[in-house]
Each structure stands twice: as C-alpha cells, then as structure tokens.
Amino acid sequence: MSTYNAIRYNNPYTNAGSLILLSTQTASASTSISFTSGIDSTYKEYLFIFNNLHPATDGTPLLFNLSTDNGSNYNVTKTTTYFYAQHSESGTGASLAYDTGSDVAQSTGYARIAESTGADNDQVSSGYLHLFEPSSSTYVKHFISCFNCYQSGDYSLASYSAGYGNTVSPINSIDFKFSSGNIDDGTIQMFGVVS
C-alpha cells in the first residue's frame, strides 16, 4: 500500500519547470560576485541573469572568469568573440562592429561580457549568460552572453559575446566583476536549466 511519503515524492517535480533558481546574489559595494557552489553535473546548462548592475566607477566594462578549483583561482584559458551594436541618445553613433579589443584568445584573464556602464544614478547593465555543461570532463566549456548597457556616454550599447573555457576539467565556480571599482548595486541569479 502506498504511504503518504510515497505519494509525496512519487511525482517528477524536478521536471515541472524549465528553470530552477539555484542562487540569488545582490551586490552592495561588492568587489565581485562569485558562485562557488551549485555548479556541478546536476544540470547540463546554467543560466545567469543580471539585473541592473550599477558600477561604482564610471565607464567600466563587466568581466567574468571561470574556476576549476572551487574559486581559489579564476584563470581558465578562454577564447571568445565580442561584437556590439550602439546608438546614442542624441541619435548619433549608430553602428554594429566586432571589437578586437574586447575578445580574448587563449587568455586566462577575465573576459569582457558587457560594455562600459555609466555610474550616473540611473545607469546600469542587464543581460544574461548561458554556460553549457560545466561539469564535462571531455569537452571545452561554451558560453553565450547578451547584455544591454546604459553606457557612460549616454549610449544604448548591446554586447554579444560567446566563447569557451578551453579546459576539459570541470568548471565549478564563476566570478563576475567590473574592470575597476565595485559593483555598487544589482543582482545576479543562477538558474539550472532542466533538459
């Protein structure tokens, strides 16, 4: 005979939704925001959503890096692409361009994912980043990101970056920071994507 417990748990709850919220972090004059737990083989895809990241320093791009040692070091070798579309509030400067200064080639340094956000009171960046199968011990670790930035020169600046961590070691931590100064405000949420 079925027990109450059997009834409770005999449902495929984990498949009920496509996104599972794993962690939310809110910046408050934070030097960086790291996720050092929850990135494992549970999900084949992770989604990070960035809401209203506000820099302490005017005109600073948002960067990220990966770790294979639980956050002791963020220095995974990466190769990336980076292009942007921009348009100013005055109606000038509309363009679409690849930015060779913002990509990286086999670099262990932090990689740019969003443009130079302004520090005016209402200026922020928002967007998302997908990280694919970070726990693989066979393949490289692909990521795809898209952001829109209220740029320091009063531009709407969209940035599209993609690339891969060129390692077959599992990725178990990720770090986000501005190129200089703190993350004054904003949230980053980490979701597991149910296959």
């Binding site: 509309a94 679409l96 829109n148 599209y160 949420q189």
Partner: protein
Amino acid sequence: MSTYTDIRYDYNLPSSVGGAMKLISEQTASASSSISFTSGIDSTYRTYMFKFINIHPSSAGTFTFNMSTDGGSTYAVTKTSTFFYARQNESGTPTGLSYETGYDLAQSTSYQILTDSVPVNNDDSASGYLHLFNPSSTTYVKHFLANMNNTYSIECFITGYGNTTSAINAIDFKFASGNIDSGTIKMYGIA
C-alpha cells in the same frame, strides 16, 4: 478521515517545484489592433519574458512595442535602442548582416520596431522573444533585449532601455499598421 482532495493540497511544495519561470498570461490575437498586458507586471519578478509565436499581420508591416507607466492609459515611454539584422532571401540572395538606422530610437516615445516588415501570405509570420529587466525599479532605466525572426528570413536583434525611473506596469504590442490577424503572446515571470 482525509479525502483525496485533502491529501493533494495539504502539502506545501518546495519553492523550486514548478521552476522559476512562471507563465503569467497568454493572449491570442484574432484581428486584434494590439495586444496589451496591463496587469501582472510588477515587483513580483525581476525579469519578464515575452514569447511571440507566429504573429501574423493583416497587412505587411513591422511589429512594434511600447511601454507604459500608467497602467496602459498611455504607451509613450522614452527609449534609446539599437537594431541590427541578419538576412537571407528564400532565393538565396541578398544576404547580409547590417545595422538598421531606420529602426532604432534615440530618446523617442514612439513604438520600438521588433521585426522587419512581416509579409501577409498565409504562411508568413514572425516569432521570437523579448526580455524586460526589472520593470518595477524606481531607481534605474528599464533594459530590454529582443530577438525575432520573420519570413524572408530576417533575424532581428533589438536592445535598448526605457529611459525612465518610473515603474513600468504595462506593455503593448501591435503592427505599425493593420491588425494582428493571429498569433500568441505569452508573458512569463522569472524568479
């Protein structure tokens, strides 16, 4: 004695059950002049996502959107945006990737274009999605990211911000001219 109904509902599900992406509202067009979402956009969710499924016009035109800070009485939020596209005709030409200066906005209250002109053949339509970030913020601008495809094929990439620190509480979608003959728009909240 407990009934089956008691058993079904006398249990608080874990917060993760059902996932972090919730369908809030779904609207299906039927010769509709526009589709508006005037409720459900609030501080409950940080991020909202709209899915556009086979939006079909009554006359060829661009599909557009605007936002409201007064519950939908007016759709006239100031926006600055970017717009670029990748395209290839069914005949294989022309192809290209290009910024479209005619479809972006600079501090304009006009509707933002989300697609190139969608044709009106029976099988023509546009589909895609739009993310709206933290619409209830009273501190920051309101970023949006959109990605649409319409028959030709033209994939459109649109981003920008509503340049207001007032909370956004309604959003409106329509073709630049004519009705939305058919199609579905779904609004989701993401944790």
